[in-house]
Every structure is written in structure tokens, then in C-alpha cells.
């Protein structure tokens, strides 16, 4: 991806999940998928040099919940919203 195509776009932020509660979350940085419509998947993380592990990815975009008590919307939609997802990279 060229710098021009990245300009004005917020990237995906990626953190490496610790294996235990006592270890810290490690911020891996901001990355850009090949297309704004695509989410990062394990293969792309491998291509970027990510080793085996579990990663949490935050997609760019608006905040999911600006109001304290939003009207309907089944709660499942919130947990499945593409704003956050977990990607596991195997060996």
C-alpha cells in the first residue's frame, strides 16, 4: 500500500494478547489492510511478520456506542461488531 493511499485513513491497531492475566498486553502498532473493506485475517498477519499467538485487532471507524443507554439493537450485534476482533496465528 502506498503512502498516498493510506493518507487520511486510520489504520488497524493490533495488540498481542498475553497468555496469562499477569502479563501485559503488547501494542504491535498500526497497520493498513490491502483494502479498506477487508479485515485483517491470520494469513495477512503472517505476511506482516506476526508470529504464532492471539492478537486483538481494532478496526478504524466510529465509536460503537456513543449513548449510555442505546435503543434496541440486539446485544449480539455489539459483540460481533467488526470494530474489534480476535485473530489467532498458528505455526
Amino acid at each position: 500500500m502506498t503512502e498516498d493511499s493510506q493518507r487520511g485513513r486510520e489504520g488497524y491497531k493490533i495488540w498481542r494478547n498475553p497468555s496469562t492475566r499477569t502479563e501485559p498486553i503488547v501494542y504491535m502498532g498500526e497497520f493498513y489492510p490491502p483494502s479498506p473493506e477487508l479485515f485483517f485475517v491470520a494469513a495477512e498477519l503472517v505476511a506482516l511478520g506476526f508470529g504464532p499467538g492471539v492478537y486483538t485487532v481494532r478496526a478504524p471507524g466510529p465509536e460503537p456506542r456513543p449513548e449510555p443507554r442505546p435503543e434496541p439493537g440486539p446485544n449480539r450485534l455489539i459483540s460481533q461488531a467488526p470494530k474489534w476482533h480476535t485473530v489467532q496465528v498458528f505455526k
Binding site: W15, T56, N75
Partner: protein, 216 residues
Amino acid sequence: MINVGLAEEQAALWGVPLRDWMELNNRVYGKEDVFGDFDLDIEANEKWRGEVADVLIENKLVPRANRFLQCSRYAHTYQCKGPQKHKLFSPIYCDLRFCPQCAPRQFARLVKKYEPILKSVESSAKPGFRFREITLTSRNVGSLSPLQVNEFNLEIKKTLKFSMRKVTGWGAIWCDEVGFDNTNLHAHIIFYGPYISQKELARTWKKISGHQVVWI
């Protein structure tokens, strides 16, 4: 317990708002112990919360299920406008009375609301009058609807009014409950008034509601 200063530092370092910091921590570690007094049995707690939410959704109470699931997951941060710029961190609660985190707060609100009334009544007590705890129970028919609850409350009102038909200065407040794992609808009543015999009250309760169980 969240160290707000450190959380803000880390969020700034990662270039995310504090809300996202909290979301990330929730996702990775499970629910945050915001005030340090939360039983961190996260998995069991979350599982139970999910089961309750499913029941709410099945009964078309989706917004309530939403609130219940997201209790304390998000927060507002406030900053005083004064010279000291105090920072306050305020979780967004569901405020549902069956939520283990919110019920004690609701209880405190109720105590604050009714305590002055109880104190005022106590300080000018009528001779022979006192607070009495009464429980009126309905027959468990295996199901429960809002209509049944409304009728039940109306029957309680009628029963107390009938029992106190020539008395002035009495009063009562009550709370409906169901059994732990059944539909046994009953009401716990704080009654202020003269002595009523259990037998007499049970007779009136049966006549008005058709139910039999009365405890004083």
C-alpha cells in the same frame, strides 16, 4: 482495580481513547474490577449474565438485555473545571435491580427514600400501632404474567383495606417476589397499624384472592 492515571497514559501511548483501552482490557482479561471490590469470578459471572440476557431477549426485552450485558463495561470520564482539574471516572451501570453490581445501590436508594417516612411514623407512633412484617402468598400455578401480578397487587390492597376498614392512620408498602427457581408469587409487606390476627388476615386473604398462605 483500574489505575486511571496509568490507563490514560497507556491509552495515549497507543493512540486510543480511554473507552477503547477499557474495551481492549475487557476483551483480553475479562471484565475490569473498576472499584477493586468485585468478585473476579469472571467466567461464571459472564455466563450467568448471558443466560439472564437470553431470557430477557426471549421475552422481548432487548434494550434491557443490552443494558444488563454491558453493565460497567463502559464509562464516562469527567474533569472538574476548577483550578485543580480533578478527574473522575464513572462507569455506566445498568441500574437493574437484579444485577449483582447494581442491586446494593438500588437498595441504598430505597433506604434513603423510605427512611425519613419510617422515622417520622416512629416518632409520632399511635398507641397500639407498630411496624409489622406480613407475607401474603399466591398459589404457584407454574406460570406468571403481568396481568397476574397486577391482580395480585390489587388483591393485597383490597385485603389490607378490608382488614383496616374502620382504622385510620395505618399504611403499608410492599415488594413482590417470586421463588428462587419457581413462579411462586408472594409479597413482603411492611405494615404499620394495630394488631391483626393471622387467622383473621388469612380468612380475608382467602376470601378476596382465593389464596391461603399468610405469614405475620
